[in-house]
Subunit: 352 residues, 2 copies
DNA sequence: CTTGTTTGCACAATCGATGGTGCAAAGACT
DNA sequence: AGTCTTTGCACCATCGATTGTGCAAACAAG
């Protein structure tokens, strides 16, 4: 190896090699050289040297000077979930296409951790922060605000800055209606046969529940309170709720609206505990999309949220000068049972 | 707001406020103050000020000086996949517990993009890099090596530095055997009824295929070449392979070994195109775990790779001084049909 | 009271890139 | 030839934290 530098080349190295000053090297390599009236030939020489020595600017130094880092943060509840990981994927694509670098972290839906994590990101001088699915978006907002960091909410809205979220009310309506219509006219669903499980007291759950209840009232005439079982987001709580229902009624409801795929896993856990039940007359609607769930042995109607649409919108809004703290709704999509949609995975290249 | 600083407090701000020098403030706040013989009372005063002014060190400045950033990189093929996103989740937990900050990026399995992305991370002076599932780990190695960056391979091995990977051979064997044993003695699987779909010419696929073929030979006596269909990782290629088989034979193989959940989605797409088939005599083994897939209307045996084990091992190995470029195998786990395992999602807190 | 030691801290250089300013040399113009 | 303008670049301060060094004041020993 001739060029085993072992340490990265700096503008000072290149300035010695080229016989020009560090500032000239810097200007050439960051594109401001025309403004500084550097001769084309000097620039070419320096670019050449940079190339052969594999120079790349030290982002920490640049960031320190310019108080920008080129990092854009995304704060998630968790990574290992289809919805949020596809947020990460889409977010990364957008950020990279702007020539910046994504930094994606998770905070377990814990308000305290959300703030702490935001502070960590801030200590790296990130340029913008996308707050996705946070339990306390306004808490994170405070942290951002004191250092003048641009930020925006996704998935769950806050009140201080703009929010881009799914149209949960409409999605809830669509899904509820699809469940109801799935039953044949001679064996229609009764109001007390359609339950909602999962979710908690956040904006998304509330809106979905509102849509659910509205459609129930419109199509089934009634909407008993007892049919709403907000069990939180933990899969095991959902499992317990199904278990309890089953204990009491000896079966599951004929129609089940599940608030998210995480809660849906609770249903699976319940089913694993009842291997001999075949749950013949069960229709599930789930507010999330997963291709495998779509092919389960009972009809599963799903909602796919428009992640690409939300991220795109969020970038548009955050670029605005003084955006109002309003809520931007993005329409989700209804997915019929046994549907295998394509996704970002299809962008995977096959090499080798 | 009394304390709307609008810009972050620095050690200089605190030094003025406390009447001591910046270096004293720095020493107090980064823990080296005992070594510098700072009075306890001075330290207390400064800590107090730091608290009330919400001081946090500028990581870019610190990193510039110390040529370390506190960032640890993870390079993935993609985010939106259960396996890799759970890598991200586990990785993040480990990194944060060491008081550092994770930076997770994806490079689409593209060797060029892998190197470029590594270079970007390097420009941020990351302290270590975990290379997960890379198509060209040794290419990334070159990039790391020239700047003296510690790195390690996960999931797919390289030849230059240590690699921590799944025991794909054993996993392949376990899964194949489980598929075969799933068939009753009076209707045993014939060698030409057990196919493998998906994967390509990488270490993981090769090992799984090797295990598959070995077990087939041992248990079924034969192992025809035609039963191996490495379709790459793209779901659509897998779909086409299933389609082609179905065209030719009018049915699917009775036993199918699928190389990954991504390829499994190809099977779903195929099935979506044949809504009236019920695929009664089909048993699938999939080298990945997904709870929904586990409950599909046909038996699905799955392999869950020990992500926690791999990450833990990788951190152990990378801390070693001069680790040898050997391969560390981590045993995966067989998951019977209709099993809902708990996962990192269960760590989600319910607040609100 | 003098000399030696310890305590407690300030000073200043440094990391690498940026950008304002200044100033010679080259060219234009009278 | 003398003045004015433009060209081309070097110099230097700066961003914020770290760290080696130096040096007074406080204290101890003789």
């Amino acid at each position: 190896m001739t060029k085993t530098s072992k340490k990265k080349a700096t503008i000072y190295d290149l300035s010695v090699l080229s016989g020009s000053s560090p500032s000239t090297v810097s200007a050439v390599l960051n594109g401001t050289w025309q403004k500084r009236r550097i001769k084309e030939s000097t620039a070419a020489l320096i670019r050449d040297l940079a190339e052969t020595h594999q120079y790349t600017a030290n982002r920490q130094a640049r960031g320190l000077r310019s108080s920008r880092s080129g990092l854009i943060g995304l704060l998630l509840p968790v990574h290992d979930n289809r919805y949020f990981s596809s947020m990460a994927q889409t977010f990364e694509a957008h950020v990279r296409s702007k020539g910046q670098c994504p930094i994606v972290v998770s905070a377990s839906r814990d308000p305290e951790e959300e703030r702490k994590t935001a502070e960590t990101l801030i200590s790296y001088s990130i340029d913008e922060l996308f707050i996705c699915g946070a339990t306390d978006p306004d808490g994170v907002h405070e942290v951002c605000e004191t250092v003048g960091l641009k930020h925006i909410n996704i998935d769950l809205p806050g009140t201080k800055v703009p929010s881009v979220i799914s149209d949960n009310y409409e999605g809830g309506r669509m899904l509820t209606e699809a469940i109801i219509r799935r039953f044949p006219a001679d064996q229609p669903l009764r109001p007390d046969e359609l339950y909602l499980f999962g979710g908690r007291d956040d904006h998304a759950s509330r809106e979905r529940i509102r849509g659910f209840r509205a459609v129930k009232r419109e199509l089934l005439g009634e909407d008993p309170d007892g049919c709403i079982q907000p069990t939180g987001y933990a899969p095991n709580n959902a499992r317990l709720a199904f278990e309890a229902f089953y204990e009491k009624h000896g079966k599951l409801p004929r129609g089940v609206f599940i608030n998210s795929s995480i809660n849906f896993e609770g249903l699976l856990r319940f089913m694993a505990g009842h291997p001999h039940e075949n749950f013949a007359d069960l229709t599930v609607g789930c507010y999330d999309y997963d291709p495998f769930a779509s092919f389960l042995p009972f009809p599963v109607i799903m909602i796919r949220q428009d992640v690409e649409g939300m991220i795109t919108k969020a970038f548009e809004v955050i670029e605005e000068g003084r955006p109002q703290p309003r809520i931007h709704l993005i329409s989700p999509e209804l997915v019929q049972p046994r549907t295998a949609l394509t996704g970002p995975l299809d962008a995977l290249k096959d090499f080798g």
